[in-house]
Subunit: 231 residues, 2 copies
DNA sequence: AAAAAAAAGTGAGATAACTCATTTTTTTAC
DNA sequence: GTAAAAAAATGAGTTATCTCACTTTTTTTT
């Protein structure tokens, strides 16, 4: 969901910066002078809600969570970002403000792109515009489905959705080593960590999922999809 | 929140189409050939979630609600749109899909702009891009605050937020005739209509608001702001 | 203007999810 | 490899909000 189809570039895995598939030679060269590569340890903050940033962060390795912080330590995870994609955009034409926080879930590396350089490229080359607007639309759609999730679905359905999200859009596999803590998983499902535990054991007892610490496997994906719909 | 600062044009009230303040003479003339004006009665659907639309709807008079429909008649109002602003955008570079529904709250008139015409303008003139991106950022921010609202706030705070939204961003006045039904107000606050009624009478008894049918007045705005923060 | 229909308000009981306390398991540190 | 610390799981009791049934008020229709 959070990958920018067409905006990513496969050579990014080779660490040469290149985030628009439509990026020209000159643009690549231009950006090369306005980027720097940075490493983050698990738990480190990339963006902090309420501040601003002069960089766009393009993830090269690892994983980051994008979340909103409420008062008293409450948080809600909006999305998990994996390479090769941009992290949650600062409001680039509105003082570069950040309305959401981002933290590395595992050790990660990222490419920091100067916002002014980015602006000059999207303003000078219209071929990037469709991808950009498509990205904003996807995010908007994702956020509204997250809203429906917490508003109308019960705990079972919310956990089902969280698991399906991990399988379909994060690990691309029914079996995965969860990099998130149970608290993170709870914040992804929008509920308490205790309730998350309870639902997980319940699903385990029903043999819908197999859980062994961080290692997880979805045995009955159809059932989870049912849960998601009915709840 | 949902007005497009700089994208609206005061002559719109004169029914000449003009949605970018930066729109050139030629662009205006071009758009004039790709728009039509339509009237909607209260309750009529402008956009239907799950379909697509080849038009952007620019509101000229009246008011519309943008909402997500859950199953069994449940709904959640994301925003109220007033003139002169665009209604919730279809995914213009993604098959023009609609992920949210819109319905006229009162009798309204709108200008329907052909998406292809709109596209050709934003692709040919880069001066519109900042406004467009600013708009998407505002919406994103609005949606995340709506999320925080329903996730972390209690009923009092949610009603307080709804009332403050009406005062600050819809009617621009502490005293207003509410065009929404109590059910709509409930869907704006993300709770049941019964609970909405109860909180309203409670606030009335505390003399925080004055309610007489559709007519409402916020007497103690500070208190509502307190409620919003603490809840 | 009266009757009918719809919307709004109220009360009581039900329930989903949370919180707090405790135990068990896993991870980290020495 | 053992001890300490942190994370996860479990249980019991609490609570915020919803649902359903009923009453009152407002709006619409004739």
């Amino acid at each position: 969901m959070n990958t920018l189809e067409g905006i990513r570039c496969h050579s990014c895995s080779n660490k040469s910066l290149c985030f628009f598939s439509t990026l020209s030679e000159e643009e690549s060269a231009f950006l090369a002078h306005h980027k720097r590569e940075v490493t983050y340890k698990a738990g480190e903050t990339l963006y902090k809600q309420g501040t601003s940033s002069q960089y766009l962060i393009f993830l090269l390795s690892g994983m980051a969570k994008v979340f909103i912080e409420g008062d008293d330590r409450k948080a809600f995870i909006l999305q998990l970002v994996k390479p090769f994609a941009f992290l949650d955009f600062p409001a680039i034409f509105d003082k570069d403000q950040l309305y959401r926080s981002s933290v590395a879930v595992v050790d990660s590396t990222a490419c920091l792109v100067d916002i002014d350089a980015f602006k000059s490229i999207i303003l000078s080359n219209k071929t990037h515009l469709p991808n950009l607007i498509r990205y904003f639309n996807q995010i908007q759609h994702h956020y509204t489905s997250r809203l429906v999730n917490v508003l109308y679905k019960n705990m079972e359905a919310r956990i089902a959705d969280a698991l399906l999200y991990l399988v379909n859009e994060v690990y691309y596999n029914r079996s995965f080593r969860l990099d998130l803590s149970r608290k993170d998983l709870a914040e992804l499902a929008g509920m308490s960590k205790e309730s998350t535990s309870r639902i997980l054991t319940q699903l385990k007892d029903q043999e819908i999922i197999r859980v062994k610490g961080k290692q997880m496997e979805v045995l009955d994906k159809k059932y989870l999809e049912q849960l998601s719909k009915l709840g």
